[in-house]
Subunit: 158 residues, 2 copies
């Protein structure tokens, strides 16, 4: 599962994520082999790893682990939203929703809307940005939504 | 990342998850090579993939992607909590919190507490179980907590 490092991650600071801003993240394919390998390792439930069992499940066929879908979302966030110059990690996520099944071969696109951006009260070098992240499939249906909290460095004084 | 299928997943139905029940999930190692390969693919931020950058980050060294930690939690859920006989997947997660960094070589143990268990109003064959899942490291510190919603089949009539 190794891939080359990111070619051109964005250069952004806390001030570049104002409330209301929308970021389009591009898209990523749900690789069928990775659906299988991810689920075998992390989520070996029959509807993720066993085509015959999945066919008679309520899903009617193999679906990707929700954690795989979330990890693909993270890939898009890392390459198109977060900046190595400012990202300090995340304390957590609220309201993660797996809204529709994701299937091998789907292509998912991501969008981030900034819900709030507040300077930290305790640490003047950073701010707290809460976002709504939505992943849609090739039919335009939202398959995943979540509200991550991001800790981001403020822009250094010039 | 391929692994053999689960040897003996539990046989449980909705009725086997009453509110207040506690399930110990055993433990799992945070493999340093997997920390690297997971982050390169899904979360290539410097403090996950670049030892030199991680050393001067607030984390003082490489930490696992929070999505990797969550995926290891899912592995423990699949092998020690959910049953292929009844698990119908999850509509989502509330209050996911990455409380402390997880480092390569850590060993994480999981515990599930059932917060509520309600028969479905619309589908008589299933129930909705809300849980608190906690992952602790080898020092006994809680590193991850979350509240997943699980859809579980009811026990078939005898």
């Amino acid at each position: 599962m190794s891939t080359p490092s990111l070619p051109n991650p964005p250069l952004r600071y806390f001030e570049d994520y104002p409330a209301g801003a929308v970021f389009e993240l591009g898209n990523i394919e749900v690789d069928p082999l990775e659906v299988q390998s991810f689920a075998e390792r992390f989520d070996p439930q029959p509807f993720h790893v066993d085509p015959q069992a999945a066919a008679v499940s309520p899903y009617g066929g193999i679906i990707a682990s929700g954690w795989h879908t979330a990890s693909l979302m993270m890939r898009l966030l890392a390459q198109g939203f977060l900046s190595p110059a400012s990202s300090l990690g995340s304390p957590g996520i609220d309201e993660l929703r797996w809204l529709l099944p994701v299937r091998p071969g789907d292509r998912l696109s991501g969008r981030v809307t900034v819900l709030s951006a507040q300077p930290s009260r305790s640490k003047p070098d950073r701010g707290v940005v809460i976002t709504l992240v939505e992943m849609r499939n090739q039919a335009g249906e939202t398959v995943l939504s979540l509200k991550p909290v991001n800790l981001l460095r403020r822009r250094p004084a010039a």
